[in-house]
Amino acid sequence: MSWPKVDRRKALLVASRDLRDAVSELRLVAALIALTVAIPLGAGSGVRALAYFGGGTAVVNRLSLVGAFFVVFIPASFSLVLALESFVGERERTTLEVLLSTPLREAEIYAGKVLAVLSVSLTLCYGGLIVYCLVTFPGLGYFPIDMLLALAVSTICQVAAMVAGAVIISLNARTMRAANVMASFIILPMSVVLQLEAALILVGRAELLWGFALLMILIAMVLLRMGFSGFSREALLARDVGLSNPVRRAAQAVRSSFGTRPGIVQLIWSRRAPMALAAAGFPAGALIGYIAASTGAVPSAVVQPVLSSLVAASRTPVSAGTGSPVDDAFSIFSHNLLAFLLVAALAIVTAGLSGFLLTFAPGFLLGFAAAVSSWGLALSGIVPNGLVEIPAAIVAGGLAIQIGAAAIHMDATGGWSSRVLAAMADYVRALRWLVPALAVAAVLEVWLG
């Protein structure tokens, strides 16, 4: 992964102008100060009041961490607005062409804009966190430095990921309104990420939070790289002309993406890298599941209910007592088909992770089951239907990974939609073989399983 050259002085010039613009309005400055000072003051005072009026130590300690998460996240959300505005705002105010006509390179403009938004957001986040710590922790007898440091690092990465993603949206939107609508692509995944982070904070294990920070670094790097490669003067200035008859153009794009799709064997060969990744997901999942159960890293109580319901489902068909084996087979088939369709639908927003999970998750459950019982018993649960289901899942997972890879691959010459459409067309065409395979697997499970 090569990064473009950036003249730091030029990038800083762009950043400092944007920064000056962001803080030039008094109302905005007042809002920034309120976010940095007032909210942490309120949150910190609340925790102290709880401690003073006899809240249990465990509750106060946990709450003090949740408060830190809260004061850090609220200003981070402000960065989304600034980042969304970065390019499309200039475009609407007609200042973009002037900026693009200068000798500044694409990477310098992009880096400058990201830097400006990041510096505002991180100043607010860390300013808020410092105020909160100063108000909350002195005299409390509890200062979880490891958790707070992990929170600080994961916040940088979280904000960087959010900003990088929002700048990509800003590059691709034609109006501020469109950018705001498209911001859902950031807000929805981020809300899941925040829930996960909140859960990790409540669990109270710093190493998990550090792992989370690492994951966020990876996501931020991918998004930043996408922004660098997707920045195009050409696209920014020429897009209006190219978008006449959007419905006809979309229909044409869909037609052409289906036009030259290969057969299943050729398809598997041409997508061998994502297929290999999906195939690796199953043994990797099994290994990690086995280790997780053996070491107690994931408590049995978490996975046991899932395993029990799966075992119960395999022994007692869903329609037991009410329907025929045909109904059972249809029920299994429709569940699996739904999972395959969901994986494809989620591939774009998860950057293909859903495809990997299609093989990793069953592998994990198998490994976990093997650890709590035996490999023989666990494997007997997936034979003979697994012999058909697993290869089908590998093909579907590989193609979903391909969709995700197409979605995060940006190119300055454009063509994002055609790449994603082509990857999705591959998936849809593969369903011609995957759907019968799932039907066969369902029949095997009901009559021979």
């Binding site: 613009d21 002037v98 006509s101």
Partner: protein, 257 residues
């Protein structure tokens, strides 16, 4: 200074510019005339290294715009039709920012900004935010910005459309002075007076192609107006323009019919 050979630009399905070939030497000025949508702005953007040609070549001072667009942009000053100023900046801060982008030393920037603000009578408004400027003042600032770094080639899209006659004349004098210093100019305009005043060569464009390029005398000859009995005086550029574009328009209509 500027050599354009067979330039074409396509936006998706739309061919905005086709087979444009022009040459502008140092100290010369080419004025592009044409209806709205004739491809003038696209031509300027390609010449400025902002858009890359779909076909053909653009060379500025020996540098191919497709090979090193950033180097071309450093030698060019582009003044778009819309001034595009940052509303919450003073003219000083704005010009200083762009001067720094073009690598001008701070002392030199200051000197040039002072000088240019004086020429365009903006010194007294130097501390006001650009958002408070009138349309004409904004256009002056845009012209200053485009020429602050003393580019080898100035590309201006309707540079005086919002200026009062007095300010427009002042701008023309300024552009003429740049020409004398060896700067090449390409100007798009709808003002025949401006074109006659500034042009060495005139290009008349329609539907993405150049219908005619040449000096006033050459265009007069091409239009055929000089030989017509009914024209008793020397035909103006307006007469020539209408004759050339009108003829082509009739042709296009007759083809479609």
């Amino acid at each position: 200074m500027l050599e354009v050979d067979g330039l074409a630009k396509r936006y998706g399905e739309v061919l905005a510019l086709r087979d444009l070939t022009v040459r502008v030497d140092e100290g010369r000025c080419l004025v592009l005339l044409g209806r709205n949508g004739a491809g003038k702005t696209t031509a300027l953007r390609c010449m400025a290294g902002v858009l890359l040609p779909s076909a053909g070549t653009v060379t500025v001072d020996g540098i191919d715009a497709a090979d090193d667009p950033a180097a071309v942009r450093a030698k060019v000053g582009l003044m778009p039709e819309v001034p595009g100023l940052y509303e919450r900046m003073s003219v000083w801060a704005y010009l200083d920012y762009f001067g720094a982008i073009y690598d001008l030393e701070p002392a030199l920037r200051r000197k040039r900004i002072e000088h240019l603000l004086e020429i365009f009578e903006l010194t007294d408004a130097g501390d006001r935010w650009l958002g408070t400027y009138s349309k004409g003042m904004r256009q002056k600032v845009a012209l200053i910005r485009a020429t602050l770094h003393r580019p080898r080639l100035v590309l201006a899209d309707e540079p005086t459309s919002a200026l009062d006659p007095d300010s427009a004349r002042r701008a023309w004098v300024y552009l003429k002075d740049l020409q004398k210093e060896g700067c090449a100019l390409v100007i798009c305009t709808h003002s025949m007076e401006e074109a006659e005043h500034l042009a060495g060569d005139i290009g008349i464009m329609s539907a993405g192609r150049a219908l005619a390029i040449g000096t006033m005398t050459e265009l007069r000859r091409k239009s055929g107006l000089a030989t017509r009995q009914e024209v008793r005086e020397v035909p103006t550029l307006q007469d020539i323009y209408l004759a050339i574009v009108g003829e082509r328009h009739e042709l296009a209509e007759s083809r479609s019919a």
